[in-house]
Amino acid sequence: MQFREAALARSIISFDRRTALKGLAGALLAGISMSPALAQDAPVTGGTLIYLEQQAHTNLYPPAGGFYPNGGVLNQITDKLTYQNPQTLEIEPWLAESWEVNDTATEYTFKLRPGVTFSDGTPLDAKVVALNYDTFGLGNKELKYPVSEVINNYERSEVIDELTVKFYFKAPSPGFLQGTSVIGSGIVSASTLAQPYDALGDATKIIGTGAFVVESETLGKELNLKARTDYNWAPAKFEHQGRPYLDAIKYIITPEDSVRIGALLAGQADVIRQIQAYDEPQVIDAGYSIYAPSTRGINDAISFRPANPLVADLKVRQALLHATNRQEIVDTLFSSNYPLATSILSSQAAGYVDLSSKLVYDQEKAKALFAEAGWTPGTDGILEKDGQKLDLTVYVSLPQPQNEAVLQLLAQQWAQVGVKLNVLAGDAGSRTLDLLDPIKTPVNVTMVGRADPDVIKSGYHPKNRDWLLQKGGSSDKTDFVDDKLNGLLEALAAETDRTKRLAIAADIQNYVVDQVYTIPFFEEPQAFATAPYVQGLEFEAVGRPSFYNVWLEAH
């Protein structure tokens, strides 16, 4: 076991060092220039990468890229106007060579890189970029396109000249520049956007400017991408330019965990997505690598719906926070790739503040707080007040790693102070409906990845994901509203001064933790495993893989 842990630590250190080197050098080849052991290895062009994905992609409309399997495909076949450096989180040029923003962040002008073409041969020009953002920003009711979550207050576009496009916003939208770099903002051709939304689950219909092109697909089984040999517009600061090293990528849907890992170790696959913490040691022992890039947004957590009288009292929520042994959850179920959360935001997110001193486990304090709030243990040990039992319900969230185990452990911890937590799986329909009713679900699992402070608004604002179920939001069964929080969220989305913006982000984190609207567990990574000969695997700022720099060592 000790050996295993040592091996685990080693692999993570080597991964960290590599990423750090990449950051330092700004080089995007796997740390080759500075590491003597790897210095002789020049990237090799050619080969097909076999990538095992847990689930089939669904709709490949770029704003639907939040679903990991979709993002994993879109990141190869589409490019964005800008590139967010995953190390510095700075916004760098990509399809846009340069840009200008007015003082109030209501007008953005982008100058496009010349010579870029879509894989169907049509040129990337201001007109098609304008069409993309008009669709992302406003939706298209006729073709049923929903709007993109990352674009707030969009008004219209204007084509200035062939390679210059300008976007206007109804209100300040300082998060927009970062929004042009995210997975949901991949630029697609006009022919793609002429399809009805309901037809975009067919990958062959998605025409982008990316380094790879969809060659063929068997729905629900496999997807074949081939390299674009004329690709010559990688993000400007990349060391590697020109065509990707790989000739092709074969995505194979392999839902069963043990089959993905077994196939990787048996040499039948090169990269696999989604590997659970408990499977990491066997991969590392075999000399393979684990990559666990952070999703850099709001941590894996539970949030309360204060419209439910059981959790309306701040003292009750504080007591539940102190009854939660977060360290035990991380230690029992996860590995060092899942760091303990120290705020609602990931420690790798812009605007993060360390609030670990507020997020302490203290069972005695929890009991005292329950007593203060008037909750006393009943005959069955469950807390009671006015004949009402402290009996809460939460639904398991399937995309979150080992979420059922996390919630079961939490239920055990809360049971020690007399709180009953029912953990439900449920069918998708009941789950979706119950989650809109605070009485049925006083607690909900929450998490969202995006490397911009706007992500906090995405999570909490009633007009976005509405995690607290506020009045005027997604539920008609709530009368809870927190004007202070909403004011802060709106100020965050509108503040154009970066320092002030980050200060507001810090205020919100403090406020949410003080109000115990959310109990964060850990910083959620996306976990991948690769064979030892796979070099140069990288991730965009929220953990979607990029295969542009990947090459296969002789093996």
Binding site: E149, Y197, D202, P255, Q268, D427, A428, G429
Partner: protein, 314 residues
């Protein structure tokens, strides 16, 4: 004969309509709907107004009878609509998955039948009583093996340990070997059991004793006299097992990462993807009805008594 077949086809169409209607009603009775599940999903992060707009665009809140008539009308004119989850036309999704399932289920059925016959014959012909007893208990073992476990074990042993067969990116035939075995083994069990029991029963009949008395060898008796008579009830069971074959395919497809109707059904039910489920229900019902019709028509081939009774096949 023509009248018989016509009435059977009429029955089949009625069954299909009932299947369509019952599926429609059951799906409507479930809480929520596909559009809600899809667009309320946090992956899209849509606002309540945007979700309301989309619900209107999809017409999911119109009266039930209106939705039913529209669905039925579309179906009759061959428009299966779009899969909400997969975001492709339902017809395209079926085309991608039906052949794969047909291959898997077809091969699985043939292998199951071969296994069942082999077991039943061995159980009768094997030289020692203890050996016959052992073979007779194999179906009980086969039927109790969980399909997912069997699949994973076969993969672990033959693909990952022995490296004989590739599960990832295999050749056309190579890719079928393990899934077909996984599917065939549990299906073969009830077939073998029925066959064994019928062979036992038929063996006690007078004509068998006569044949033996005439000096026929045990295998001759089994093949010429017993098997023919034991086959009929087995055929009936085979028709019913076809449904089980589709159910077993769900797990097999998941374990082996195959596309197919099984996996598609599971996904569509989970997300209440109505248009896909309706198409699958009708297609499965059609397949089920057809298989059972063929089996009915086969009875007289195997049993001359039925031939005389109907008189039309002579």
């Amino acid at each position: 004969m023509t009248r018989y077949i016509a009435s059977r086809i009429g029955q089949a169409l009625f069954v299909l309509w009932v299947a369509f209607t019952v599926a429609f009603l059951l799906l409507q009775a479930l809480p929520g709907d596909a559009v809600l599940i899809k667009f309320q999903s946090p992956d899209l992060g849509l606002s309540p107004e945007q979700i309301a707009d989309l619900r209107e665009a999809y017409g999911v809140d119109s009266p039930l009878w209106q939705q039913y008539l529209q669905a039925l009308g579309n179906f009759l004119t061959g428009q299966f609509g779009y899969s909400v989850v997969g975001s492709v036309p339902v017809a395209q999704e079926l085309l991608a998955n039906l052949p794969a399932t047909a291959r898997l289920a077809g091969a699985g059925f043939v292998v199951a039948a071969i296994l069942a016959f082999a077991l039943a014959f061995l159980a009768t012909l094997a030289p020692f009583r203890w050996l016959r007893g052992a073979i007779q208990s194999i179906p009980a073992l086969f039927v109790s093996v969980p399909v997912f476990w069997l699949g994973i074990m076969l993969i672990q042993i033959f693909s990952f340990r022995l490296k004989w067969i590739s599960v990832i990116n295999p050749g056309e035939i190579e890719g079928l070997i393990l899934p077909v075995l996984t599917l065939a083994i549990p299906i073969s069990a009830p077939l073998a059991q029925i066959l064994m029991r019928n062979i036992d029963e038929a063996s006690t009949q007078g004509y068998v004793a006569v044949a033996r008395a005439k000096g026929a060898s045990p295998s001759w008796v089994l093949w010429k006299h017993i098997a023919k008579n034991a086959l009929l009830p087995t055929l009936t069971i085979a028709g019913i097992l076809f449904g089980e074959l589709l159910a077993g395919a769900v797990i097999t497809e998941t374990v082996f990462g195959l596309n197919g109707i099984g996996g598609l059904t599971e996904r569509s039910v989970r997300f209440q993807d109505t248009s896909v489920i309706q198409a699958i229900v009708v297609f499965s019902a059609a397949a089920f009805v057809t298989v059972n019709l063929i089996i009915d028509l086969l009875y007289p081939v195997f049993d001359p008594r039925l031939r005389k009774a109907k008189g039309v096949f002579a």
